[in-house]
């Protein structure tokens, strides 16, 4: 029996989950993962908890060396700089070729660097990898003051981390509220009040004009309003860009990321892509979209893994991937947050937000709403629940604080449960919403019998 060689570029959530599935399905095949980071598989989202000292570095590593050994996964540290599609070869930077039968590109994405002058000075940091997190901790400890730019989860996490490490931290928002692509006024206020407890200074309607420096190092930022804030570190979290450099110029189809079909296969039959770098068909918007969320990366990696084995062994692919409605959860300044489905805001001024995806964000959250979309709220103190309905179904929900209804809502949204009988009660809003959701949930369960 011939043993096939599966080459996976990228040791993140997508690459690892593909490798695990391949090993389950093909015990004889050779699996190689190439990573350009000097670490075993670690939790990327977990670096946010590392910079606030909730966990030490070693705890982030979630697959030990013995895991790789037991599963016969050969992990190589290096950077693949070139592909030869005809010869089915991948070249390491020094020219060493690795032959493959099937290739998975799970190269992820990289935090976008800022375009304003001074963005390349020493002390301008992003939060993406474990190395970035270590840098953030080092700078946070040394700096007297820090400035963080960005509207999403990562910006808030970075600000929390730098502040925790001792830097007096300023968080700049371009608009008049936090995470304007997602939060409404009220939700923004809840997080705003939490941020103040963390000694972080929030500035609304402020943008950086340039980063000031001396001898190549950051000394401050000048804002478009003319104001100058002195600081030694500038944290930038304005989005991510897929790492698709490897296939640029090759006959592999790509748009923003690598275009894949429902089997996670590119237009070249032996090349698959999964995770942040893959652009998958999204039934919610009818277009191919990037999806830079962790659970998506795992699902995509698993589907790719199944199909890679089939292709290697000359059979038909059968593992279909269909993008879920987006889902993410986070702990922001002590406040639990869950976002499911389409909840985005449409107010005109926010349209020109960032040009790339925020880490942990999704385009679909802010997909254009049709006029038939209606929202309802239930707000109490530090808790907030917002649902979005369309055509008798709940299509989106955002929960801050109390998370009790997160699971029922997620199933309603994902499985497109018809709730038209409850629509008026739900849209009347306020305290009726939670009660109605629970009632609908119970009835839905019983309908399965």
């Amino acid at each position: 029996m011939t043993s096939h060689h599966y080459l996976i570029i990228g040791n993140g959530a997508a690459g690892m989950s593909a490798a695990e599935i391949i090993r389950q399905r093909d015990t004889h095949g050779r699996i190689t993962i190439v990573t350009n980071e000097p670490y075993l598989f670690y939790s990327r989202p977990g670096v946010a908890y590392f910079i606030t000292d909730m966990i030490p570095e070693r705890q982030l590593i979630s697959r030990t060396e013995s895991f790789y050994r037991q599963n016969k996964i050969n992990l190589r540290f290096g950077h693949i700089s070139q592909l030869d599609l005809r010869g089915q070869l991948a070249f390491l930077e020094k020219g060493e070729p690795i032959a493959y039968d099937v290739l998975l590109l799970a190269t992820g994405s990289t935090a976008t660097r800022p375009s304003f002058p001074g963005g390349d000075l020493e002390g301008v940091i992003t939060l993406d990898t474990l190395d970035d997190a270590k840098r953030a901790i080092r700078y946070g400890r040394r700096a007297k003051s820090a400035v963080v730019i960005g509207g999403g989860i990562t910006a808030m996490e970075l600000a929390e981390g730098l502040s925790h490490q001792g830097a007096r931290t300023h968080l700049l928002q371009r608009g008049s509220r936090l995470w304007p692509r997602l939060f409404d006024e009220w939700e923004s206020k809840i997080i705003d009040s939490q941020i103040k407890h963390h000694r972080i200074i929030l500035h609304y309607n402020e943008e950086v004009a340039e980063v000031l420096g001396k001898k190549g190092k950051v000394t401050g930022v000048r804002l478009k309003s003319g104001r100058v804030i002195k600081c030694q570190v500038v944290g930038v979290a304005i989005g991510v860009k897929p790492n698709r450099q490897l296939i640029e110029g090759l006959p592999v189809s790509y748009d923003k990321g690598i275009l894949v079909n429902e089997f996670m296969q590119s237009n070249i039959s032996t090349i698959f892509a999964a995770g942040d770098v893959a652009q998958v068909y999204d039934r919610w918007t009818g277009r191919h979209q990037l999806d830079v969320l962790w659970p998506s990366a795992i699902n995509e990696g698993q589907a790719a893994g199944y199909n890679m084995v089939e292709v290697a062994q000359g059979r038909n692919m059968y593992a279909n991937y269909q993008k879920e409605s987006p889902f993410n959860c986070a702990l922001l300044f002590g406040c639990h947050l869950t976002v499911i489905g389409q909840v985005g805001n449409r107010s005109g001024s926010d349209k020109a937000e960032i040009s790339y995806l925020s880490r942990g964000s999704s385009h679909v959250w802010t997909a254009p709403f049709s006029s038939s979309y209606r929202s309802a709220w239930d707000k109490k103190g530090q808790n907030s629940l917002r649902i979005v309905m369309a055509g008798g179904r709940i299509v989106g929900a955002l929960l801050l604080g109390n998370q009790e209804l997160a699971d029922p809502l997620r199933q309603f949204i994902n499985q497109e449960v018809d709730l038209s009988g409850y629509e008026s009660a739900l849209l009347n809003g306020q305290e009726k919403i939670p009660k109605t959701i629970l009632e609908a949930w119970r009835n839905w369960h019983q309908s399965w019998q």
Binding site: R44, G46, M54, I55, S62, A319, Y321, L331, H336, Q446
Partner: protein
């Protein structure tokens, strides 16, 4: 050809309605899709259980060393963990082991038997 679905189409039937409640015997239950493997749970576990290994597989924490202190549930930043019943009670008062209390490969078999 049999198809396998990932993502949205991986539908799971909710617990059968013949199950009316769970036992008071609780275990730490996990929603694997919320887990990002950060390891805060295991790091804070006073007896050193690697909780995220259970969370990854969506299994209840069945480690015999678990003292049911709830620290992992409280510390999880993403709401992955919660208390869940080890035993389910059917409408006719008969009992059933919560499938999540079994290792994943046994869960499949238990569904087949049922």
């Amino acid at each position: 050809m049999l198809s396998k679905f990932f993502g949205r189409f991986r539908k799971e039937k909710p617990a059968s309605s013949t199950i009316v409640s769970g036992s008071d015997l609780l275990q730490v239950a996990a929603d694997g899709s919320r887990c990002v493997q950060c390891g805060i749970c295991g790091y804070n576990c006073p007896v050193g259980i690697e909780v995220r290994e259970y969370a990854r597989r969506g299994e209840n924490v069945t480690d015999s060393r678990c003292i049911s202190c709830g620290t992992c549930i409280e510390k999880c930043p993403r709401g992955t963990l919660r208390w869940g019943p080890a035993i389910l009670i059917r409408a006719d008062n008969t009992l059933e082991i919560n499938p999540n209390s079994l290792p994943k490969d046994l869960q499949m078999k238990s569904r087949e038997i049922q």
